[in-house]
Amino acid sequence: MTGTAMEAAALGRRFGRRGDGDWALRDCTFRLPAGSVCAVVGPNGAGKSTLLAHAAGLLRPTEGTVTVLGTTPGAARARLAYIAQDKPLYPQLSITETLRLGHELNPGRWDGAVAERIVAEGDLDPHARVGSLSGGQRTRVALALALGKRPELLLLDEPMADLDPLARHQLMGALMADAAENGTTVVMSSHVIAELEDACDHVLLIGDGRVRLEGPLDDLLAAHVLVTGRDGDLDPHTVVESRTTGRQHTALIRPNGPLDESWQTTEPTLEELVLAHLRSPDAPVLTLTREDEAEEAAA
């Protein structure tokens, strides 16, 4: 895949009545290649939802810019789909009417067959009013609406949170199938890191409103090593997190050069990588999508 689906440059957002509140996002700079499936992870209040709402064009940056599909979020609106965390839909409409709304509002783009299949997989009565559905069923309708639009960029804020395991698997499968067939770029935030590990190929870790880690999943994992051994010197490697229990020393590091052979090494999982960074807010930033940015961030 070539091209950029989403790009932020020094993006910052501050809330508060006169824009004098706390920074929800600060100095966010990253680039997401088109065709990626990107996991946006981070603790509660880190700024994940704020970032997605900016990409969807629902919030205006206090400073910096966000570019999606080569243009402003407003100009790209027809080509992107966004599902907010609370899955807003019209409660008085039936499922059929909701899909018809999708059809009418997306002339020339709408794929009714895709939307109907997603609804049908959930065994939902098409005449049921949206207001009568459970949270997970509403999520299914929202995803049907979003995928029916055939977006080039799909922004999902905690999409899987209220789904049962079967629906989660089905809908993640539907998202991946869409990505495989149409090259759709998918950006989704979640707290459940383990379930994202197999689906995503790109990671954006946000902490305290800032980008902490960013890059292709494989590259990020390969840039880190979990080491265990007897207490010893870890210079010149970058130590993200380190613990000592008795004589045993455990650390997550970014190796700079060859490692001493006395260390036992394993590649971390995404979950281990994210947890180590969350426990160590002072670990240096690492962004891998662009070399020049990585250097800037380290400086």
């Binding site: 539907a174 991946m176 199938a177 495989a180 197999d198």
Partner: protein, 133 residues
Amino acid sequence: MVEYRIDRRSGVATYVQIVQQTKQALRLGLLEPGDRLPTAREVVEATAINPNTVLKAYRELEREGLVEARRGLGTFVRKSLGTTPADSPLRAELDAWADRAREAGLEREDVAALFTAVLDEHFRDDHREGDEV
């Protein structure tokens, strides 16, 4: 056609699991030359994994000469692996051996350890194959 089963807790990279399961299907004769592998879309829809993972596995199988991608048609099996179809005499012997091991009071782990030890002895230079059981 073959169906992949992804074990998230196995510690084996997902694409390697697909490579291994494809080879296993080739060894058991579940896949034969000329058969089409499932498309990336079909695999990810069923397993909810990233499409690039499937493509990476298929590229690896292609690099090993086991399958070939035909543009617009799909990925096809080029050659089979090994000579041990599911109903071969070797399998029957192993089956009988496992029966005896069980009668002798061995636990599953004991049998696996024993089998792995013998395997390692006979296939010393070929650890990757040994790992694929």
